[in-house]
Structures are given as C-alpha cells and as structure tokens.
Symmetry: C2
Subunit: 80 residues, 2 copies
C-alpha cells in the first residue's frame, strides 16, 4: 500500500469513527426527547423538568448565587 | 405508599433517567472531541474534518445547491 493510500485510509477511518459517535450521540438525544415526551404524557411539565435537570447539575452555592442574581435582576426590572 | 409518594418517585425516576442519558451523551461528545484531537496530533486539520462530516451528511443535490449559493454570495461580496 502506498503512503498516500495509508494516509487516505487513516483519514477515512477517523471520519467514520466520528460519524458513528455522532450517530450514537444523536440516538441518545432522541431517547432523552422521548423520555421528556413520556413524562409529558404522564402530566409533567417538561419545561420545569429541564430547569430541574439544570439546577441539579449545579452546586448549592452556585444555585443560591444564581437565584440571588435572578432576584436582583427581577427587582431591577420591576418583575414581582 | 401514598399517591403523592408514588408520583414523587415517578418524577424522580424520570429525572434520574434523563440525567443518566445526559451523562452518556456528554461522554460520547467527549469521545468525539478526543478523536478530533487524536486526528490533529496526526497532522489533520480538524476544522476541515468537521466540514467534511457536515458535507457527508448532505445529499449530493443539497450539497451542490449549497455550493452554488455559496459561489453566488462570494461573487456578490467580491470574494474570489
């Protein structure tokens, strides 16, 4: 095999590996969407569920800081 | 088990299922990034590789249309 062919094969293998993983990532994304839809069909509010997922990723400190800043901005804009 | 507890459990199970899938998706995303880094260390241009992945997802028709529009816009803006 010539050196050019080896290099072309290597590039193709990288691209195909990435494509398989992109497919896998898309599949998991679809499963997540399906799960939210299932929860919705059980009566859950999925917008709030997404907020909960975001909040649970944060430390208690970060969450409290975020909530304090949110309150400040709400006050500044007269949202009560 | 009271009905409220059952419902709380159901919500918690949905959230935990979603969190596991989000973790999985993040893991695959990390693997994709690692693969691009590996390709980069072998001398490949990863920006171009990302373009190739995008192009290979498209049909030949869609790609040709996109390329024609791109040429038109380049001409309009004097990019030669």
């Amino acid at each position: 095999m010539s050196e050019a062919t080896t290099t072309d094969d290597q590039l193709r293998l990288f691209i195909e590996r990435i494509e398989r993983m992109e497919e896998e990532k898309k599949g998991v994304g679809d499963d997540i969407r399906d799960t939210y839809n299932e929860a919705k069909s059980q009566g859950y509010d999925t917008k709030i569920m997404r907020q909960i997922v975001r909040l649970r990723k944060m430390s208690r400190n970060d969450r409290m800081e975020m909530e304090a800043i949110l309150e400040t901005y709400k006050a500044a804009l007269g949202i009560d």
